[in-house]
Structures are given as structure tokens and as C-alpha cells.
Symmetry: C2
Subunit: 196 residues, 2 copies
């Protein structure tokens, strides 16, 4: 039987973790990005479809391609992040099913309808985006996830001619307290949950 993690670990993952809007200049190595992926990849997805794709922008040249496609407010938050990640998903994730679900490669047929494929990619790609955030916190990194950007523009700039689609952006690095919001409230249990 597994025990709860220590309170300090719970705090690091959830209670004390904060969305960061500014970052120190401490770098994030390519090796650490691999460690991050090698942790988040274990999170569960439906039928092990693993539709998320991650583009890690680490160079000034790559970041300059993304900057004009962010909302003005988000552009300011991304400046200084060691890594700006585009959390995306592959609409043709089913092509990988023979590798990912080898005991039942025929499960690819479940996703033959493009609407089902898109819903599955969006749901499970979003789950994996959350695994990215929590895996980053597990590794002592801070995140700044952002939805305010031109999705079609990012798809045209980074994914033209492919079946990858952008979902959300996530700044990754070592956060500072600068420009951080007050901790915002959350819904009471009674407003968000029912027990039947």
C-alpha cells in the first residue's frame, strides 16, 4: 500500500506552486528537458494513445518566431523563460498505435472518424500538458502556462504541412516572484464536487 507523499512534496506540487510570470537566468539544459519528458510520458492516456507533442523553444531565434503570436500580456510573461514550450497534439496519433498498443494494433480503427480523433487528441493531449506542468514541478522547475495566443498562427508558423496542432503554451524555467499575481481563490468543494 502506497503512502501519501510528505507534506513538503504536496506543497511543491500543488499548494505552494505558483504560475510564474518572470524567471531567473538559470538555464535549463537539453538533458533536463529529456528528463522532463521521460517523467511526464508515463502519465496515463486513453488506450495509451499519447497524442501530445512538445516543441521546446530554447534559442532567441525560435522564441522570436513565437513572440508576435502571443497576446501582448503573455509576451511579457514569456520573456526571460529559459524554455517556451508549445504543447501540441498530433491529429494522426493513431499512426503510432502499433508501437504504443502492440497487443491490439486494431485499436487504431477506434479513431478513424476525424471528430473522434480530434476529441481524443485534445482530451489526452491536455492531460499530458498537465503531466508536463506537474513533472516540471517534480523536477524543481517552475511553469507559466498560457492560453492567450493565436493558435492558427502558431500552427501556420510551426506546424505547416503537418498534422500537429497547438494546444497551449507553457513557459518553463526557474521562477522569480517578480510580477507574480496574488494567489487567486478556488471554488469550494460544495461548488465543484458532488458525492453520490
Amino acid at each position: 500500500m502506497t503512502e501519501p507523499l510528505a507534506r513538503a512534496a504536496q506543497d511543491q506540487l500543488f499548494r505552494m506552486a505558483r504560475t510564474r510570470n518572470a524567471f531567473s537566468d538559470k538555464p535549463v539544459s537539453d538533458a533536463l528537458l529529456r528528463e522532463l519528458y521521460d517523467l511526464l510520458k508515463w502519465g496515463p492516456t486513453s488506450g495509451n494513445v499519447c497524442p501530445a507533442r512538445f516543441v521546446f523553444l530554447t534559442t532567441p531565434q525560435a522564441k522570436a518566431r513565437l513572440a508576435p503570436l502571443m497576446s501582448r500580456a503573455n509576451r511579457g510573461k514569456a520573456i526571460g523563460a529559459a524554455v517556451q514550450a508549445i504543447v501540441a497534439y498530433d491529429l494522426k496519433f493513431a499512426d503510432k498505435i502499433p508501437e504504443l498498443f502492440p497487443h491490439n494494433p486494431g485499436s487504431a480503427a477506434w479513431f478513424a472518424d476525424p471528430a473522434v480523433a480530434e476529441e481524443t487528441a485534445f482530451r489526452n493531449g491536455s492531460l499530458q500538458g498537465a503531466y508536463l506542468i506537474l513533472a516540471a514541478r517534480t523536477l524543481g522547475l517552475d511553469c507559466g502556462p498560457m492560453s492567450g495566443f493565436d493558435r492558427a498562427g502558431v500552427d501556420a508558423e510551426f506546424f505547416a504541412g503537418t498534422t500537429w496542432r497547438s494546444n497551449f503554451l507553457c513557459n518553463i524555467g526557474y521562477g522569480t516572484d517578480e510580477a507574480m499575481f496574488e494567489r487567486l481563490p478556488r471554488l469550494a468543494f460544495e461548488d465543484a464536487c458532488e458525492v453520490l
Copy 2:
């Protein structure tokens, strides 16, 4: 500067955590469900919209309402789980914005378009579904998330006349190794990630 969590904690959250298809008879108290929500609620959402809603089925009567709406394979996996959760989202999440984003209640207007509201609810409600899974693991619980069910049927049975919509199901309890799958492969870094 935050440090990485200890290897054992990383394992509990990601590397050794497994989707469970069978559960012991150890109960999950209502108090523990509140602790679970009070942890997962801190995960970030866009504009702090917090659209996810969670229905925790704990009684045989409530579970009997869900059983016929699951795929046959999933019905077998859910039997014995102390809690069967319906992870849902509220399409009218923006009604809570004055409470959740008090410095800018006008942000509710960002979601006036129903298509934008639905996309936002689905993306962020899915993120929060992943926070549920990882918060459960943080607390020593095991999960069995499932997408194979009749979404429209669940909405009709549990959410008729409301703006809540089902997203996925998640069994929660203390897992056993019975009926557990082999650990399935994951995509290589090179197939899922780009570094630019």
C-alpha cells in the same frame, strides 16, 4: 530555488504509478475526497476559470446508475473501486469568474462565444482531470481513468437540465495487481518532442 523531489516520490507519481483495473476493499472516506479536491484545486487553469466538476460515486445505488453506460470492458475495471469519479466540466464556468478572478470580473466576456467557452472548458477541465489523477497518487491513492463510456448517456443520467458535461471517468481507490496490463511503451523523445 526549489529542489527536485526525491526519486521515490517521482516514481510514485510517474515511473511506478500504474493504471489499476482492480482495487482492494479499503474504503476512501469523504474526508479523503475533500483532501483530494483541496490538493488538485490548486493546479493552474487559464484565467483561473476552474471549469472542472467532479461527481464522486461512492454508494452501490449511484454506481448502479453509471454501470450500464460504461463499455463492457470498463465495467469490469470499475467493479470494486471505492469511488467512481465522473470528471466533468461546466459550460457556464464563466458565471464563477467574479469569485475566481475578482480583480477582473470582466474577463467573463472572453468566454461569451459558446465555442470558445466549450474549448476552454474542455482544455482546462482536462488539465484538472490530470491534476485529480496526480493528486490522488500524491495521497497514496491509485487511479483507473477511462474514456470508454456513453458520454451523452451519462450527461442525460447525471446532468439533465444542467450545463455540466461529462469528460472522462476515473476509478479511485487502493489498487491491486489483479488484471493489470503489462507496462505499455511510450514514444521516444525524438518522436514526441522537438528542441528549437
